[in-house]
Amino acid sequence: MTVLDYLYDLSNLVQAFANWLSTFAPGWVVYWVVGLIAVATTLLFAVNNTLAMNYIERKVIAHFQVRYGPNRAGPYGLLQPVADAVKILLKEPIIPAVADRPVFLLAPIAAFVPAIMPWAVIPFTPQMMVADLNVGVLYVFAMGSLATIPIFMAGWSSRNKFALLGAMRAVAQMVSYEVPLVLSIVGVVISAGTLSLRGIVEAQAVPYVIPQFLGFLVFFVAGLGELNRSPLDILEAESEIVAGYHTEYSGFMFILYYIAEYTHLWAYSAFITTFFLAGWRGPLLPPYVWFVLKMLFVAFLLIWLRATMPRLRIDQLLSLAWKFLLPVALVNVFVTAVGVFIFG
């Protein structure tokens, strides 16, 4: 193995370390150490994206809006997210006197945990993943559904009308969008014949965005609804209900929401990359580089949408989910199933 081989797939590096470790350590030590390395690096990658995405989003949107964006802290304003993070961390976390304390305090944590859970099954390369679950897709959507509950916890326990309105919208929206979101991926699962995320990528000789275009469309739009991203971001519509469910949160609790939101966004980019853009596959560059490049591309699409589109109203949003996305997703499932039945 040369240095290039190690760089081509970083998991080779971990493998080499494990081999060296096993020469003198017992098996269970190796197992735990390697596992911890995998979890720690994945978590760092998932959570630290908040800083990067924060900067990228502000910079990109600024240029859409004929502005410069952050350019004071550090070269090209690169330290701006750090400065902001430090500033928010130094803020006093204020808990409203009428709030339901235990639920109010628990909600940010409950929001943060499901946001980082799906990262366990995301395959950056065939080897670079924490666990290759054979029910990976199911696991991913189960974790995605969990995100609804903390939002409602936050809105309800704040005893703030804006927060309550936001939470009310959140439940209506996320429950509705869950259905087309899950159905849209059924076509991919039928085509690939597996629920494992690694299996799905390996099955994509042609990226599924081409044969599964309808599925991609529904997944992309329903994902926006699930993520509460513009133009479907009604639960934190700042022109109507201020900051929605996290209106009353400040300091570190706010940061947890913020990280959860961006981690969701980043995970969503990873899902689209895995399910529709053939994951790590690509010429020349190392697989994980391809993976991250594709994720960045998806993230750019999201920012682009945010910079251009106004927001839908709640009734329009729900009718989009039930009257358009759901039928299209069902048609897609049907067509895919028939296609797979006939052509193999």
Binding site: I61, V242, P310
Partner: protein
Amino acid sequence: MTLETQPVVINFGPQHPSTHGVFRLVLTVDGEVVIDAKMVLGYLHRGVEKLAEEKTYVQNITFTDRLDYLSAMSNNFAYVQAVEKLAGIAVPERAEYIRVIMAELQRIASHLMAMGTFFQDAGGWGGPLMYMFRDREKVLDLFEMACGQRLTCNYMRPGGVSMDLPPEFIPELKKFIPAMRAYLDEYEELIAENEIFKIRTRGVGILPKELAIDAGASGPVLRASGVRWDLRKDDTYSIYDRFDFDIPTGTVGDCYDRFMVRLQECRQSLRIIEQAVRDIPGGPWVNPGVRGNVWAPPGEAYAHVEGPKGELGFYLVSDGGVGPYRFKIRSPSYINLTALKEMTVGYKVADAIVILGSIDIVMGEVDR
């Protein structure tokens, strides 16, 4: 089983991101549907009308700048006309042309802000608003060139304007007109053709023709309801009878119509400016007989202009002194707001914000 529901009272403002200042709106909602709307005004009351009684006619011009701070020139225009009527002052030809150019430029600047913030109220993330800031900047540059001020211009005087246009003004203005036309086309494509924008604004906040008239609405709000009423044509003042322009009107009276009327009016303003630039004569820019303060004989006068927001009028009573005995402002934003409840009830919370944005209020003028 029937579930019991309860209406909830939500308080928007006075500190709220989309109330355009310190406007307070108390909404009663049933779920997401607005069933009652109540405005609470007065958070920006400064007592301008009383203050003005203690100042001279010329000093009061600075107060008018600060009413609708997005259209200082139009405010100046209405006020100095009232003073001229009261004191019987003639205005030289060149000054009239300069005033019309300024008022129409101001209309464009004000409408740009109205359209940009309206898009933001509909949930857009500020892109078009920033483009409009960029273009409004060019108007403000022209103002700065003419009078040294950008927002609170304080440019017009009884009998004319405070100083002549600099020689580089007209060439710059000639460059501005085609550039602005191109930008307006771009906005029409970018905003008015946006599907989400259409479904958010079409059929929302309908103000029927009769109600609009009954409420005393004016300006784009009235014209969007299909009433062809524009003081520039219907009660011609200054030299507006010399220009050829159309009055854009809407058909339904919804938020989309109000937006489109504003967009079309910008085009018409450009037409007026084009003609004014072509015809502007030389000569004095202020009546040479008027220097410093103005004394008016006892009496009263009312003058109004078609401001960007609607009919802006000043009613002055003189007791023969150097300042007004009574100073009354008919502010269009305030009167257009009175129909807000009728426009809002029955729509969703999100619509209430869009409707408020479509009226285009400036709090400096609502509370005086």
